[in-house]
Amino acid sequence: MDGTEPEEGIDNEILQEFLVESFENMAQLDLDLVALEEAPDDAERLRSVFRTVHTIKGVSGFLGFEALEKVAHAGESLLARVRDGELALTPPRSSALFALVDVLKAILTHIEGAGREGERDDSELIALLETLSCEDNARAPGPAPVPVPEAVPVPEAVPVAETVPEAVPVPEAVPVPEAVPVPEAAAGALRSGTAGTAWTAPAWHLGPETPGPEPVASTPPQPTPAPAPVASVAEARPGVADAHVRVDVGVLDEMMDLVGELVLARNQILQHVSSQSDSPLTAPTQRLNLITSELQERVMKTRMQPILNVWSLFPRTVRDLAVACGKQVRLELEGQDTELDRTIIEAIRDPLTHLVRNSVDHGIELPEDRVAAGKPAQGRLLLRAFHEGGRVNIEMIDDGAGIDIERVRRTAVERRLVGADKAAALTDREVVDLLFVPGFSTAPAVTNISGRGVGMDVVKTNIEKIGGVIDITTGPGQGTSVTIKIPLTLAIIPALLVTSGGQRYALPQVNLLELVRLDESTGSHVEYVGGVPVYRLRGRLLPLVDLAEQLGGPPTTAAETTIVVVQSDGQAFGLIVDDVHDTEEIVVKPLGEQLKGIPALAGVTIMGDGRVALILDVTGLAHQAGLTAGAEQALGASAAGPVEAQADGTTVEPLLLVMVGGSQLALPQVNVDRIEEVPASAVERAGDYDAVQYRGTIMPLVHLSDYVAGGAGSGAVAAAAAAAAAASLQVVVVNKSAGQRLGLVVDNVVDIVEGYSAPVRSTARHGTLGSAIVAGHITDVVDIDALGGSQGGRWGTVGSLQPGAAA
């Protein structure tokens, strides 16, 4: 392979290969050691750990990294005796081995940065390892001072030595192009290394290996056909080196870009050829089409990485965390070969780490609590990944305590994320969704592991950034399961092309729910609630957003209305567009500097006809249209007030219907205290608002007519006039969540109803929770808490709404 490169590049190349391999091996070591803690008798794994350490020792000796070699050697000696069954893998020994991995990593990192080891003193660890490998089984769990991994010097602490350039005496030693019997060379280096107390392993079993029984020492070392010493390193994992080539990621990225261009050119040719019948190019074009598609698929595959690349960190993370928390956790990985685009792998690293830490820190209970709850003392955390419908599902399932719904509810109220009565009415599912609200954290104490207030909201944002969704299910005592669904790749996505304002736009398919076309014949049409358009989709009100208007143009005025129903943040809304075209695979290109930071735009792409089209960001559009402006509003869609959606889509929480200024309004009945008739003469002016004396307190009055009229002033004038004319006022006494009482002035009370569809938060007007269909009419549901306001400054809101009363 690389061994046939020209001479001058060799030493550096060997070093790079060594580092790459070693870092990979370190990750594998962590995995293996954690597994060995579980099953200390797993002979195959012990051999694997031994081989890894042995290989590092061998090659580092060969490359002249003495410190690395010494430490590795001490570890190897211990491992050899453990492997041979002379010693048991006790917790102190495991810890020492973890410490060994940390030190190896530290040295490797230093070599990577500085090209040499630096001066370091690992004698303590070496001494520890030697002590541990001298003890016999009887005294095994001895009192030797065991450094916890954290105590090991980290790379930053390593003093850089100015005097070690001679540490890399490689070139002369490696006449690479010839078939050097490398194993022997390495083995020789090993034998001449520092005296090992229990050096029993055949140093020369570096050759190609079968995962079967130990190679017999008498087997002569087989110089491998690939002569580079590095090849022998690669063979620590059987067979890999023969079938794989290392490629720079940058090259793959360039290839991906080029294939993207090729796809575009293919699309253009296809479009051109399909417009002519009988072209001699038809057949070759079809072939070009097929080949391009396949090429695209393969190139995408080269950028795929198994999710294990992220997961390999977790066994160690979980182990260290569990030790720190005094918990016992078994981590299980399923589907670790599931592949994802590397950009996505990068993007999910942090969210997944966060979730894993959360699970160990908050989810899984202390062993005694678990036993008390009738569970095994050891908790279980399962990570599972699998492909489904062109997406990747990642599940994290623990069997811990589950999420304490009541505590989340209380915390949400304490943090003023929702009102108390609203919180009480939320379903468990909706309460769980509160975890994703920014600034939410239930950890009673901020630990150094998690609970710093940056939490699930960041996880959610990061997942959504790559077009994924996250979902949590939990049950008290039954653990928590988090499901993440993410796309395979970000570079080429399927998108729906729509026209708006004469321009084409691409809507990512992930956001797409359905298409609705309204014309005369369908009989259905757009309705308006408080001036904003809505559409009844299967009995529910769907807020509509005019795309042309959102993009700064004049509103859409087509005879037929085309609605693209899209979803963002778990909330559906309709985009009004001029026309809908095909779905197409588009190549996502980044927005230029001058267009960054426009939330409604996700990127650009080049269409088949060579023109540029903008890719819309549905989440950004929703934000811009005010659909998901705040945390509580985002919840509002599903959790608006004390109404609980039933499975069949209707709700049963009763509503009081009142008429105000000719419109029908609904008040959630849980808030309604009494219905009173107040003589007009009893209304007094207090400060800048109207009030009456009610049961010994001052009760502010709110003229609902102000809300119906949609603006301040006119309604109040009319209400004042009506009040003056009428001898008495109909006042609905309501309780706000803060316990405060308000009197709502209405024209008359109509009815109490029970069945209606859940309110929809349209581009909401102040004072309403949304609109519902009640007895066939679209009716605004009044948000009692938004009326009047209970805190100081907000009294002004009441006053400002009724200047007419002062006139």
Binding site: E261, L264, A265, G501, Q503, L551, G552, G553, K589, P590, G592, E593, Q594, L595, I598, A600, L601, V604, I606, G610, R611, V612, A613, L614
Partner: protein, 150 residues
Amino acid sequence: MSTKTTAAETMAGQYCTFFIDAKLYGIDVNEVQEVIVHQEMTPAPLAPPAVRGLINLRGQVVIAIDLRTVLGLASLADAELATNIVIGSDGGAVSLLVDEIGDVLDLDSGFEPPPRTLKGPHRHLVRAVCRLPDCVLHILDVNAAIAVQR
């Protein structure tokens, strides 16, 4: 802006010149990737006003910035076919729309700092001026020109 006349020799070099509103402007020729004729553009809604649209330049998406808008002038109508001067900037290629392209001039003298009385957009866009026999060349700061205001 505060460039003193000692900068004269450092200013020497080749300038790609162009006309806007019948006045002569120039930018360092090294900044220029290429000059192309009028291209069809995809408008970019919600973008800053100076962003006229997006151009497909051989598979590369180029943002077209209307120098007239940047300089506070009314835009040309589409039919008047502005010329694109494509600049390879760090944030991807950008095209400057100008009325008409001029010659590449080899200049080694006549540079002066812009008059202190410059007003409006010219104040932070004009890096220097150069006395030519029959007119004055405005030398633009390309980075300032493409850093469009929201």
